[in-house]
Symmetry: C2
Subunit: 347 residues, 2 copies
């Protein structure tokens, strides 16, 4: 096992189906049928093949299989963020978990890839289009990134997390009702007597950021107020971004009495800024976040927030992609899942 492998060959010559078949005294075709679980095989042949395969530790060569079937039986979970941001945001964790479960249940392998630099994108494209995966679950799409279009053009089925900003004609996606959530949160703040309701947005090159802001604006205007841009401070879904955005907001409007933050992490940053300025969260200033990550309930004071159905989002993405790969669905489908306002101490 530890003899130097010649370049380009496996260290150990792997047993082939041919050898299994010979050992079991059947043809390659029959051995293949048994190992793929085809029903029309006699019990005698089945036992012989399974025993032979076990005896020589046979593992099918997936490249050879893939070359014939055109399938790899694996799915990519692709996150276009730096590793740092991905690990910092429990949203990705929840999505990964639920997608992983759904994909595993279908008997496929989920491989997780993070693309943080432009050259990574090119390599991933060749990897996916080269047939290493049957489809891609793509998270965290920014701005005018054409990766989904390029994947689709190369024949790689792709399902996005979140509505893309552009080129949405033929793209498949699963999204939460971001605008509805923004409206819900803002309307609640207005209805509970707050007069100066501000918002710390997400990145505005992402649809989720835009939509949550649009929801805020809709709620403000539905309340018969003018939309005041100075009450809007742009963040980026991170705690640090939320903190900075809140500071600039407090400078412009020291009398702000409620803030809708476009993510829970941003809300944590907002809360820190408020506390540093001597304000009491939930009393002087109400705060509502977005996502309902587990940490939201554990904050002091606990964070009111708009709950995204993260497990359902991941599972729905995975199932939609699998249905598409199997040819059970053939026209681009977009799913929008409802959100829910969760009231705690901060509002």
């Amino acid at each position: 096992m530890t003899t130097a492998p010649r370049k380009g060959t496996r260290a150990r010559l792997a047993p082939t189906l041919e050898e299994v078949a010979a050992r079991a005294g059947v043809s390659r075709a029959t051995a293949s049928r048994v190992l793929r679980g085809d029903a029309r095989v006699s019990e005698r042949a089945r036992d012989a093949v399974l025993e032979a395969a076990r005896a020589i530790s046979y593992v099918p060569n997936l490249a050879a299989r893939s070359l014939v079937t055109g399938r790899s039986d694996s799915i990519a979970f692709l996150v276009e963020e730096t590793e740092e941001r991905m690990f910092a945001d429990p949203f990705f964790l929840g999505m990964l978990r639920s997608a992983q479960e759904a994909v595993a249940e279908a008997g496929l392998q989920l491989v997780f890839t993070v693309v943080s630099r432009p050259e990574d994108q090119q390599r991933f494209l060749a990897y996916a289009a080269g047939g290493h995966v049957d489809g891609v679950l793509l998270l965290s799409l920014h701005g005018q990134d054409r990766l989904p279009q390029r994947l689709e053009a190369l024949g790689v089925p792709t399902v996005l997390s979140g509505r893309p900003l552009s080129g949405r004609r033929r793209l498949w996606y699963v999204d939460a009702d971001n605008a509805g959530g923004g409206r819900l949160a803002t309307a609640h703040l207005l209805a509970t007597g707050h007069r100066r309701v501000a918002t710390v947005t997400g990145p505005l090159d992402m649809c989720a950021g835009q939509d949550r802001l649009a929801g805020y604006r809709a709620a403000v205007e539905a309340d018969g107020r003018p939309y005041d841009e100075s009450l809007v401070s742009v963040g980026d879904f991170t705690a640090a971004g939320g903190h900075a955005a809140a500071l600039s907001l407090l400078e412009r409007h020291p009398d702000v009495d409620a803030i809708f933050a476009a993510s829970d992490l941003a809300a944590f940053g907002v809360v820190r800024a408020l506390r540093e300025s001597g304000r009491v969260v939930g009393d002087d200033v109400a705060v509502i976040g977005f996502d309902d990550i587990p940490a939201a309930a554990e904050q002091v004071p606990s964070l009111s927030t708009v709950r995204q159905p993260i497990p359902a989002l991941g599972a729905t993405m995975a199932r939609l992609l699998l249905d598409r790969i199997e040819g059970r669905v053939d026209r681009p489908r977009r799913t929008v899942l409802p959100v829910e306002l969760v009231l705690r101490q901060s509002a």
Copy 2:
């Protein structure tokens, strides 16, 4: 593009090398040479092939290539933890980042897989042994888990993060000097006048947990004191585990004046327990952690800790695996990287 694909076929028939060659007016062999960057091709042929490939958006079928070369040009980064624990621990983040960079630099694709349930392990084994990856970087090996042995037996080169507890004969690994780190931290606590120096360990089914404890013990005995098991409280590298372990420790030994925690996350839990019991960290009780994750420096008070060279660990693992795959190294190699004591406010 959106016509229903027949089961088992790609939605769009991908262009083949044959078509590129025909379009460029050369043979398949020459086209292949150009696309793989083989030097011995005339400029005229090269240009024609590249132009033809571009024109029809040719992407090589990696399954076909892999069938011939026996290589997939991708590496698995495998974490045997639940998704939650993996995301909660910045150690994995740092390892992923540095491994990803080293692998990308060599032109290979890194795929990241998390195995949290026993059935996942079986699927991964078939995936890896089936030739989808050329090697595996395996993190977070617990107890008697035989996965590395099984991978090696199936011909999949594997490099471990951390020395395995058993079957270490033929296994390759990269580790930090855990025992040395434990000794360093404990010796410092003893040298600075602390009289009741306790430890909150990691999981004792992992070598890192055992070794850091062994380092603690060695330092205690080197100081001429008896090794007192009641000063040892078993944790699991998590903050919650550290908190619980510290509570039970404080119950047994209210007069403890220094604690060596086997991970920074555990140290955070210890600090919280101390604070809850009214003790002042760094004053009443000194605390030293292990890892030096970024959050350690940001705590109040900032956490003294044993710094693991996380970027070097990940990069070394990746390079060792790549060297092995290329046949540049052929005998099992184990690398142990030095650690360093970083003193801050907590000790």
